[in-house]
């Protein structure tokens, strides 16, 4: 069966002092999942820098009707169709609409992009600019999984639906969101688990596209990196440990 696939980028409406916030995203996903399941449509949705990227795939007519409805939806504007093509197989089987945060790292997305690469090469400059908000066309550089001698920084807190909340993880995130820290210091502190546990956390951060690994030289940190009140921290930690 031939499937139709549409890829489009749109802008969230300006809703907070000129900023574009994806208001109602959870409702959009909820409704899309229900409706798409009924019409046999699958796809993904992602949001970045005030823009949505959505890919929908399914029967030709069903996709046509859905895209017409999408264009009329008042929750976004400036809908630009990036691709409208046909494929033989689904790229997003089982996902009636999956929200993805780091789309460039999603294997099924990257596989589809490889398949449609000739179309991507023909995009106009404006479409290429819009699409590059989400995908650089290269698929991202390979991750460096060896953190020895490196410095680390988190660009954001992780999405805790993707990684299990734990006190150790939270301490690590608090440290890495507060500034750049050396991997050696993180290991040496003993506060964030074993090397294997820390490496696992770091690899998960890489998958979420929130970890910056650099060669920046960071002066050795004393007193366990404390910047706040160590006394109150210790009292609170003791209270929490005792339960």
């Amino acid at each position: 069966m031939t499937l139709r696939t549409i890829v489009y980028v749109s802008s969230a409406i300006e809703n907070v002092r000129g900023f574009r916030v994806p208001l109602g995203l959870s409702k959009i996903c909820q409704v899309a999942r229900k409706n798409n399941a009924e019409t046999g449509i699958t796809g993904i949705l992602t949001f970045s820098k005030g823009h949505f990227l959505q890919i929908i795939e399914g029967d030709n007519d069903a996709i046509g009707h859905l895209f017409d409805a999408i264009c009329k939806d008042k929750r976004h504007c400036d809908v630009v169709k990036i691709l409208d093509t046909t494929t033989d197989t689904r790229s997003f089987t089982g996902w009636s609409m999956r929200l993805i945060s780091a789309v460039g790292r999603e294997p099924s997305f990257r596989k589809l992009m490889s398949a449609v690469q000739p179309h991507l090469n023909d995009l106009s400059e404006e479409k290429r600019r819009l699409f590059s908000i989400f995908y650089d066309g290269i698929g991202g550089a390979a991750d460096d999984n060896d953190f020895e001698g490196k410095s680390l920084k988190l660009l954001a807190w992780p999405d805790f639906t993707q990684i299990k909340q734990s006190p150790t993880l939270i301490e690590l995130c608090a440290r890495l969101t507060s500034g750049t820290e050396s991997y050696a210091d993180i290991l040496k502190s003993g506060d964030f688990g074993t090397k294997a546990q820390i490496d696992l956390f770091l690899r998960q951060f890489q998958q979420m596209d929130i970890l910056v690994v650099s060669d920046e030289v960071i002066p050795e940190v004393s007193q366990g990196g404390f910047r706040g009140s160590q006394t109150f921290y210790n009292k609170m930690k003791n209270f929490l440990t005792l339960g």
């Binding site: 809703n15 995203l25 929200l99 945060s101 807190w157 993707q162 995130c173 440290r175 009292k235 609170m236």
Partner: protein, 177 residues
């Protein structure tokens, strides 16, 4: 007495009173009144709920639950100084009132004041993971407007273990802040 302050702010039904009650070691002082309109529950907070945790005989954390609507700014004023932590509760299933959220972040200015801040999503029991993830993205977008890098965690305000995650997180943020 070395007394630190934790402010818990959220819209109607987000779970402020419940969270204070779950965390507090004393019977909380609650300021709930019967609602005159249908808000999905009989009582709602109209003043400050107060609870307390004693860390030792000379150190305490005061828990202040404050309504999230901006008409209660006079109460926000009361708790805003020298905060150890700011918790914004968001109820899953409701679309966040972004204008109000924006006013709240402008008022408390956690980035400028270097206040440890987190957003806790409540009422997630029956929620699909992907929908909580979507709400997290909405909230993060609003935080980013204010340059605030803060965790968005899921909390069951009725459950002590879950509720103490808030304290763990704020303590960790304050350590490196």
């Amino acid at each position: 007495m070395d007394c630190h302050k934790l402010a818990v702010i959220g819209e109607v039904g987000a779970g402020k009173t419940q969270l204070i009650s779950t965390l507090s070691e004393i019977k909380p002082f609650e300021t709930e009144a019967e609602s005159s309109i249908d808000i999905g529950k009989q009582y709602t907070t109209v003043g400050i709920d107060y609870g307390r945790i004693m860390l030792d005989e000379k150190t305490a954390l005061g828990l202040y639950g404050v309504p999230g609507q901006d008409r209660y700014q006079f109460l926000w004023e009361f708790v805003k100084e020298s905060l150890w932590g700011l918790v914004v509760l968001v109820k899953y299933g409701d679309i966040p009132d972004i204008d109000n959220f924006d006013k709240l972040l402008t008022f408390f200015s956690p980035k400028q004041n270097k206040t440890a801040c987190l957003v806790a999503i409540t009422h997630c029991d029956d929620a699909q993971e992907s929908e909580v993830s979507a709400l997290t993205q909405e909230v993060q977008s609003i935080l980013s407007i204010h340059g605030v890098m803060a965790p968005v965690i899921n909390v069951d305000a009725r459950d002590k273990h879950s509720a103490t995650t808030i304290l763990h997180t704020l303590n960790a943020i304050n350590r490196f802040n």
